[in-house]
Symmetry: C2
Subunit: 195 residues, 2 copies
Amino acid sequence: MEFRKRPGGRSARVRDAVRQATLAELVERGYTGLTVDNVAERSGVHKTTVYRRWGSVEGLISDALELARDEPWPIPDTGSVESDLRGIVQLVRTGFDDPELGPVSSAFVAAAMQDPAAARALHDFFAARHEQSAEVVRRAIERGELPDVVDPNEVIRVAVAPVYYRLFVAHEPVSEDDADRAADAALAAARAGVL
Amino acid sequence: MEFRKRPGGRSARVRDAVRQATLAELVERGYTGLTVDNVAERSGVHKTTVYRRWGSVEGLISDALELARDEPWPIPDTGSVESDLRGIVQLVRTGFDDPELGPVSSAFVAAAMQDPAAARALHDFFAARHEQSAEVVRRAIERGELPDVVDPNEVIRVAVAPVYYRLFVAHEPVSEDDADRAADAALAAARAGVL
């Protein structure tokens, strides 16, 4: 897996190397198998540097999440709110299906359940994702497809929530139809003036 | 916290004692602090018995979940599907707010993210909860409040999903209004024929 590299000086390169190593270790071993020592060894950055700058597994995860927050997230723009919303929910579903991205994303969710710092980082990550994704709802309001009382971020939350619920709470599979239905349900609720 | 006691012979009493101890330990220490030794000590059941019958922390959690599945779940019956659905989603919300039930429920969700046996047990638990809760939707269909093409279990999933999403994924607070809105959104989608 190649995560986006960033420009910058030595400090940025070190940060990037440690982050790539954190993500790669998460893919291989999951959250419970993540150690600062393994990340240091894999990144080629000296162990004492990693301990000094990141402190712990939770610090590594928070930092990786902070960088992930700024990753490009390909918001669809199909001209119709129905297919835009379906597109967003399918992005979430296929992301978790991806053999490399999936374990990393799951590890972030697991880490946040056990550590307050990771929970804050994940909160910020999702706040940014909601804000970006809500653009499809704002455009729909501008086009007159949805009433302007609608809360765009809440439409996104309700649209994606059933996918996460199936994956991480009820432990049920998520089909393409399940994802479309979740998007359609949020849209129906928005049209009814509930969201 | 008093969890429901069950009738039965010595074996059932031992199972109950171990289960009570598991839940009490989860309240005090969470999933990451749960050990077979602590559960054995707290339950007064001999350590070798606990290891032989439950095997591991995951075995203890799966068994506690299996018993929780049969706990009474006070499905509302107000005569209106809107208030019944709101009632169910509020039950979920207040359950996680409860200082004793909340940590146990969160520990189950965390355990299932890290262990396949706990995930299967949680899956079965939620399948039973969906089935029980769907009664309010089936009654609404009988009363003619909802079209009979509606999938009752899916209405329940969509109604509760935003509460879990806020709690365990986005790490956002869940207000009473948030919970009502989630119920209303599922109902609007069901009325629109989407679910």
